[in-house]
Each structure stands twice: as C-alpha cells, then as structure tokens.
Subunit: 343 residues, 2 copies
C-alpha cells in the first residue's frame, strides 16, 4: 500500500502520475494559495478543472499563477496542459458556483478557514452539486462532522487537507466526518492517489490532524531548546536539516526505528522504550514563546536563509523537493511490496 | 555559517570534503558500529587513522567493514583510500591504546555507553595522549563535566555525538563540559567541519542533547496518535515521509516557518503562535507505549519496508541520503551567504 505513486519521467521534475484520474472533472472552489496549487495538481493529472472564486480578482490571479506554474513545470512542457491552460479548455474559469459544479465528480473547497464560512459553503455545494459528487474540504482545522452537520449530503463530504504547496508535496490527510459514507472515503483515497498525491487516511478527527500535531510537537521542543539557551536557533535548525530530516525524507519515525535494529522497529522500541519514556518526562510542555523569542529565531533564520519567503527561496525548496521525490521514485526501498517505477 | 560543507564530486555519492583536515592524525578508540563508521569519515578526509579496540575480534571486524565500506563508496574508488586501507597505511590497526594515541591530534572515543566505563576510558586517554590532543566522546547520553570530572586534562575533553551512521549523515552535536577550554570547542567544530561533517554547537548539557530530544518529541506524538486509534502506523509514517520530512531535509523547523510567510519566520510564528500554544495543550505527554503498541507498530512497519534493518534497506537509506546531500550541495538555498559548490 506504500510507495504507490509512480510517475512518467521526462525529467527529474516530472511529477505527472502514471495513472488516469479516477474522476475526470473536478471543481476547485476558492482560489487562494492552496486552491491555485490544487488547480496545478488536477490539470497535471489530466482532469477537466473548473475554478470558481467569489472574488473575480483572486480568481484571475489564481488562473494566471496556475498558468505560469504550469509553464515553469518541466513536466508540463511535454504535455498538452500548457496548451490547455492557454486555450482555457482543461482549466476553465467559472463565473458562478453552479457553472463550476456542473458535471464535476469532485469538488475541492479551499475557502476561508472559519467554521461558519465552511458550513455556509458546504450547504451551497450540497445544494448545487450532482448527487454523486464528492465534496472535499482543504480545511486544516475543522471536523467534517461539524462542517456538514445537518446537510442532506453529509455522507459525501470529506476532509482532504494538503501540505502547502500540494502540487509539490504529495501528502494529503483524508478524514471522514461521522456521517461520511465508507465508499466516499475509499473513492477519495483512490482519486487523490490517481492524481499523484499520497493520501493518508485518518480514522477520526483529532485537533490539528496528524501533520500539524507532529510538527507542533517538534517545534515545541525546538522553541524550548532555543529559549533555554541550550543552543542557537541555527544549531537547532541544522540538527533537523542535516540530521533528522535526511532520514525522515526517506523513512518516517517508525521506519527510522526499523533501520536501527536487526529485528526492526519492534526490537528497537522494546530496547529503547524506557529511554524514550525517561526523555519524554524531560521535554518541556509549555515554552514561553515570547515576542523576544520569536524575534531571536527570526534574526537567526534570516541570517541562514535570507529574507522571508522570497520567490527564489520557495522555488528552490519546491525544485529540491521534486528532485528528492524523483530519487525515491526511481530507487524505491528494496523491501517494499510495490511494482518498480515506470521511469 | 550554514551550508558550509562542500565536496568534490566525481559522482553523486562522493562525500569527500574539499578542505584538508585541520588535524592530520586521529585515533578511533572503540570500534563498534559507530567507531567503524568514524574510521570511514576520517580515512575519506585523508586523515592518518589509528584504530584500537580492546576486543581484537571486534577490531578486526571493524577494519574489514571499513575496508569494504570504502570499496563500496563511489567516492573512494577515485582516491588512494582503498589502496591505503589495503596497505594499512592511512588506516592502522593498533594493538595497544598507546600505539593508537601516539601522534594523534584527535581521539574519537566510541566505547560502551556507561558513565563509569567512559570515566575509566577518559582517565586512560588523558594519561596517555599528548598534551595538545583533543579527546572527543561519541556519547549520546553523558555530560562531559561528569565523564572528565577530576581529570587534569578536563579542558581538552568534549562530546562529539554523531548520528548513525556518521559516514553518511553529517550532523554532529558538539558539547563542552564545564571545564572544556573555549579554544578546544572552537578547534573541535573546525576539525569536524574540515572532515566533511556538519557540527552544531551546544552551549551546555541537556539530557538527550538536541537531536534525540527533537526526535523523542515527534515519536511521542506519533505513538500517541497510533495508540489512540486516530490513524494507522503506516499513515503516521507516511505523513512524515511524504510530507514533513520532504521539507525538513531542506529546511529545519525554523527555516520551514520562514518559507510560510512573506515576512519570514517572525511573521509566521507571530501569526500562528497562539494556534501552536493551543495545539501544545492538546498533545499527549504520556502515551502508554505498551508491548502491544510496539508489536502493532512493528507489524505495520515490516509490511511497509520488509524485515528489520536488512543490509539492503540500510544500503538504500544510505545511498539516498548521499544523493539528497549531493542535490543540496549542487543547488544550495539562494539566500545563504556561502560560496557556491565546487562541483
């Protein structure tokens, strides 16, 4: 079930999936930073992609961004997607929600991150979409049980929360609400995989989902170590970048444990379980994280990487993530039970 | 100060440093799994490397492993190191501690992880080594203030704790004891960098140092999420491998925050500081981590990656880590204030 996503490789940057999308027509509703990246994901996979945003200027900017992003994407230089963007066929700007939903089998909602707004949008979507259409939310915070509470179509609603930017980072958290039908969950996982993402299923809502909880756990300790004066922000960032992160890009925390003992994760965690418990008692639960702490972290981080989220820094990150994914796709782990890459 | 390590590139697997080692003769004392990997690090950098272990069989096995590792290492196919290993010149088997220490400017101790044993070894090292020799311990657990307590040469003792295996993963945690002289700390950082590692300085001892604390913080939450039934072990491992880890191989937690807001880490953490604090309150402090939990994690991890730490799986990990390092070395972040790669 793992390492499933395979790509055609015209170049190391080519992240087009080998598979055909299991749903051919999709609607992207809400065209901010996350929505525009979803346009790229779906168009790259060959989906008919309709885009709607209530703000016409945001809609225009997102389509312009997605067109430029497709042109820059080495993968798309080889396919019809650029042409499709230009001719507004595969990607269609829609002036009404109804036009976007017409014929769509999947709706990816990426509106504002407020429960009341999500509830209002999902009521509209449920009222206007074809009965078989799956309604997915990019929310990073809300429980689908609450977003879809009281809707006739609650059974077809699901959370599909990506990592920014989803056209580069494949992981998507897929969470059912209490009313989500099992076959909708199954179809959601299959669809996201067919467009080249790496969906992971959550069994139920927990606040922060998986990724943000794991990230928050590490950041809490990183902030504490900085605040306590144990090391500089540069040192802490380097420990992750030149140490933990090099392994975690290949194997998660359990997979890393698996390579640390001949008998695998079981032997490793049995042997070091008490050491972990002892260390857990030492970890700080409540760093101050004051304005002064944040200022200090900012200054050191800027000294390491330059000013903020510049286009050059983000483009560098996205370029190298693509290439790491290409390495993993061309040379998958030997024990995994998956077919080889088609590249 | 960051992204400093540059390599000659005869191939993507070449991790030889460009620099000459600042200390030419080193002694590796203790030739287990960590010690043998240090042999590879020092020999690759061109150091005269003397190796001693009180167990002659372990010593023989380590030298055999290091020779085979050097032969497999694409970098070393191009240099004299393989020949040197064969001719036992650059790497010398020593039958006594005194022979290993003679003329060495750096001693890397990698003995058993017990405080009393470390204290005994350091007393021997301090008695036998030349006065100017730096005495470094690979300990992952002990405070140098205690290891070197009462030694005349406490000022030349320092912790240099690597990540396994150090010939592949560059990060080394460097910690002074209370008595360590500042110039010894400075020279230790410079030496480790000159042999191609990425040393990070800790200002003082905290249990677990930096890397194991950060790793333990993430593993604690990963174990909790599994135990609580929120997701499978496979899903949790995938979240890190296909999500967080892809970014953390390039940018640490502060660097990642830096790319999440136009104004950089400061803006990002000011905006989401309260959200992090709220999530920190939700994280589990004390998962059960029972035998049954470990068994479940083991079964799913084995299904993902095959049986335990097989040679093939570890070789795959090491090969891909080398290639990720090569990508980063060839294409460093645009804002970093470092010279370009010489490749």
């Amino acid at each position: 079930m793992t390492h499933r996503t395979r790509f055609f490789r015209h170049s190391p940057d080519d992240l087009r999936p080998v598979t055909q999308p299991t749903i051919r027509t999709v609607a992207v509703v809400g065209a901010g930073v996350i929505g525009r990246s979803w346009i790229h994901v779906f168009a790259r996979a060959g989906c008919e992609t309709r885009v709607f945003d209530p703000d016409p200027e945001q809609l225009a900017r997102a389509l312009e961004w997605a067109r430029a992003s497709a042109e820059e994407d080495e993968a798309l230089r080889f396919v019809d997607a650029v042409t499709a963007f230009r001719e507004a066929q595969a990607v269609r700007r829609c002036d009404t929600l109804e036009e976007a939903l017409s014929g769509a089998g999947w709706v990816q909602e990426s509106g504002p991150e407020t429960l009341a707004v999500k509830q209002r949008i999902f009521a509209q979507l449920d009222g206007a979409a074809d009965p078989g259409t799956i309604l997915a939310s990019s929310t990073s915070a809300h429980d689908m049980s609450r977003i879809a509470d009281g809707l006739a179509g609650a059974g077809r609603c699901v959370v599909a929360h990506p990592v920014n930017p989803p056209h580069v980072i494949p992981m998507v958290e897929v969470l059912p609400g209490e009313g989500t039908r099992p076959e909708v969950l199954t179809a959601s996982l299959a669809f996201l995989e067919s467009v080249g993402q790496s969906p992971v299923q959550m069994n139920r809502y927990v606040s922060g989902f998986l990724l943000n909880r794991l990230q928050a756990a590490l950041i809490r300790e990183a902030v504490f170590l900085y605040e306590s004066g144990a090391a500089s922000a540069e040192a802490i960032d380097t420990v992750v970048r030149e140490g933990l992160g090099l392994r975690w890009a290949l194997l998660g925390p359990f997979g890393t444990g698996h390579t640390n003992a001949d008998g695998g994760a079981g032997e490793y965690f049995r042997r070091y379980g008490d050491a972990y418990r002892e260390l857990w008692r030492e970890l700080e639960a409540d760093p101050e994280f004051s304005g002064r702490t944040i200022e200090g972290i900012h200054e050191e981080t800027e000294a390491m990487y330059g000013a903020g989220a510049t286009a050059a820094l983000c483009a560098w990150r996205d370029r190298l993530v693509r290439r790491i994914r290409a390495l993993k796709d061309e040379d998958p782990p030997p024990g995994s039970s998956t077919p080889g890459s088609r590249s």
